[in-house]
């Protein structure tokens, strides 16, 4: 690419006239400029790629630098100390986040997978197209709107903040993602597999659930993990639903602590001790999210590694 071959005058035909020679000369100089532009633009896009990865490097580096020192046994086993006191941990928040993930998955996964099955098996119908479009729209809605929705329908009528409301808000956020990945994964299952099952006398529903769903399972698991990794760090909907809790609570009918919420509260607090806990919490949260993301990646890879098409 860097070697600049001169513009080739064609060897055939009569000798070029003066006008043609001038044109060729002009072409040669503009060609040189065009090549310079080409190289410059390649460099520019390369710089863009480097710059785009820099924030990630900086964020991870600062997280480790500021958070690693506060990660110890107490962090995973104790609940927060009163403001201003050193020590304490985020055990209740970590467990709370796991409870919320469980509740959200229990609500979001069945609906998402069911809707995905419907979309994959009813392609081209009016309802399928509408649902597909709306699930994309739902996917783009701000998470804070989900929080308002759960607050209006669950927190307000019940008169108190509950872990359940948070689980529903997060689960609703999972639905569009799970729906679309399920649809995609089912639609790449070869049609011949379905036909074979039907030809063997399987009913349609057994074909779908036993043959198709099982074949697409690794992909669907990936989609579910991606959805979980996305909601694990969500904070905004939790402000309106679970509120947070300084103490241990596992009940779905009580306010519950959550890691992202705890990080937020500690980050904006005036105490240095809480700042370091916030960094440590962020490091743990990122760890959880990254592990889930990598697991998702691994699930797909092993699927395609074992001889799909």
């Amino acid at each position: 690419m860097a070697t600049m071959a001169p513009a080739k005058p064609s060897g055939r035909g009569p000798r070029p006239s003066g006008v043609q020679r001038a044109a060729a000369e002009r072409t040669r100089t503009t060609l040189g400029r065009r090549r310079v532009v080409n190289v410059v633009m390649i460099a520019v896009t390369l710089v863009a790629a480097v710059v785009a990865t820099l924030p990630l490097v900086f964020i991870l580096w600062h997280l480790v630098q500021a958070g690693a020192s506060s990660i110890n046994l107490a962090f995973f086993t104790q609940i927060p100390k009163p403001p201003g006191e050193a020590g304490g941990g985020m055990a209740n928040a970590i467990v709370g986040t796991l409870v919320l993930i469980g509740a959200a998955s229990a609500f979001g996964l069945p609906i998402g997978i069911g809707a995905g099955l419907y979309l994959a098996e009813n392609r081209g119908t009016m309802l399928a197209n509408t649902v597909r479009f709306l699930s994309d729209v739902l996917n783009g809605l701000p998470s804070i709107v989900m929080g308002i929705f759960a607050w209006q329908f669950l927190v307000k009528p019940m008169g108190k903040f509950t872990a359940l409301a948070g689980g529903i808000a997060l689960g609703a956020m999972m639905i569009p993602l799970v729906t679309r990945t399920t649809e995609e994964m089912i639609s790449i299952v070869p049609v011949s597999l379905r036909e074979a099952a039907l030809a063997l006398g399987y009913s349609r529903w057994r074909t779908s659930l036993v043959v198709i769903l099982r074949t697409a399972l690794p992909g669907i698991v990936t989609g579910a993990l991606v959805a979980v990794s996305r909601i694990a760090g969500e904070t905004a909907p939790l402000l309106f639903t679970v509120l947070g809790n300084q103490f241990w609570s596992l009940s779905l009918r009580e306010p519950i602590a959550a890691l992202p919420l705890q990080i937020f509260n500690f980050a904006i607090s005036p105490y240095d001790a809480q700042h370091s806990l916030a960094w440590a919490g962020a490091l743990v949260l990122i760890g959880i999210v990254l592990i889930i993301s990598l697991a998702a990646r691994f699930a797909t890879r092993s699927r395609f590694g074992h001889g799909g098409d």
Binding site: V37, N38, I42, V44, T45, L46, V47, A48, A49, V51, A52, T53, P55, L56, F58, I59, H62, L63, A66, G112, G114, Y118, E121, L127, V131, D136, V137, L138, G140, L141, P142, S143, I144, V145, I148, F149, W151, Q152, I175, L200, S203, R204, W205, S208, L209, S229, G233, A236, L239, P260, I263, F264, A267, W279, A282, L285, I286, V289, S293, R297
Partner: protein
């Protein structure tokens, strides 16, 4: 297997057995059909419920202030006077700042990955950029408060203010405290970058080979091929990706709340603090003093809901049009 191996001549009992099985499977099939349809219907139902819920919560405020709610910039909870103009202004300005910074970068990354990068580099770089989307908003906020904000205050803002001509403009006016529109816009830029670049990469990859080959055959350099043949072909998809990024930026809450300063004011300067709709709701919800205050916050949420609904609808439509064209 055993079914296939069964003799073709069957007895009466087998016949009734098969009939019962066929009937049973017909019931199973219709139950299955109804179930998946019901699950599919959950998606529109949830959207409608969100609209109803947000609308219901916002109604008292809209009833009290009418459309003036959108244009008034008074926000005075003790006197029950509310206007969302500063928050709407801040939302739009911070999102524009984010897009101005993120779009060229994201396009550069997408073009680099789809056209220039050697295959072994493609996957890792794409993975790293995609990882930006996996970082929780609150972690961006934390990093923003303790790393980005001091850096902006001590280095970037004095530098911008010292620039000739531009530095004297209203954009970079006033003291640099730290919490600012610029900081919020910058963190938003980092957050929407992976979305824009992922969509752009996809639509660029979907541009047919023949399009590239035709340009190259006409003597175009690689860059001319990209600028004249590939990007124009993918244009509406790229615009869709940018608008998708806009949708993200408009509704982003935690990181912005932590960086923008949360002040009800409209200022031309990017150094000044402000509010966005999402940060206003998140910041004041816990301390809302009365029913009308709460309702006013929900009304801000309703505006945000409608805005993102429109923006996302347009974006999806654009991206779909491109992918449909690419397929046909």
């Amino acid at each position: 297997m055993s079914e296939a191996a069964r003799p073709l001549v069957t007895t009466r009992q087998d016949d009734t057995g098969i009939a019962a099985r066929i009937e049973g499977s017909a019931i199973g099939d219709s139950v299955y059909r109804w179930m998946t349809t019901a699950f599919a219907l959950c998606v529109p139902v949830i959207l409608i419920l969100i609209a109803i819920g947000v609308g219901e919560a916002a109604w008292p405020a809209f009833k009290t202030f009418g459309l003036g709610f959108l244009t008034s910039s008074d926000w005075d909870p003790p006197h029950n006077v509310f206007g969302a103009a500063p928050a709407i202004y801040g939302t739009i300005v911070s999102s524009i700042v984010a897009l101005v910074i993120a779009t060229p970068l994201a396009l550069g990354v997408a073009i680099f990955l789809s056209e220039f990068a050697p295959p072994w580099l493609r996957q890792p770089v794409a993975f790293l950029v995609d990882l930006l989307a996996a970082i929780p908003s609150v972690v961006y906020g934390l990093w923003g408060i303790f790393v980005l904000q001091p850096f902006l205050r001590d280095r970037v803002m004095p530098f911008l203010a010292g620039l000739p001509v531009v530095g004297k403009s209203a954009l970079f006016e006033g003291p640099a405290y730290g919490p600012s529109m610029l900081g919020a816009g910058l963190i938003l830029a980092i957050m929407v970058l992976p979305f824009i670049s992922a969509v752009s990469r996809e639509v660029l990859m979907a541009v047919p080979r023949s399009q590239r080959e035709a340009a190259l055959a006409l003597g175009a350099t690689k860059w001319e091929m990209i600028a004249d043949a590939v990007v124009p072909y993918a244009r509406s998809g790229i615009i869709g990706g940018i608008i998708l990024g806009l949708g993200r930026a408009l509704g982003e809450t935690m990181a912005v709340t932590m960086l923008i300063g949360n002040v009800h004011q409209i200022s031309a300067s990017l150094f000044a603090p402000g509010y966005t709709m999402a940060s206003l709701i998140a910041n004041e919800f816990a301390e809302a003093t009365g029913d009308l205050h709460l309702s006013a916050l929900m009304a801000v949420g309703a505006v945000l809901f409608v805005l993102t609904l429109i923006v996302n609808g347009i974006a999806r439509w654009l991206v779909w049009r491109v992918s449909r064209e690419a397929r046909s």
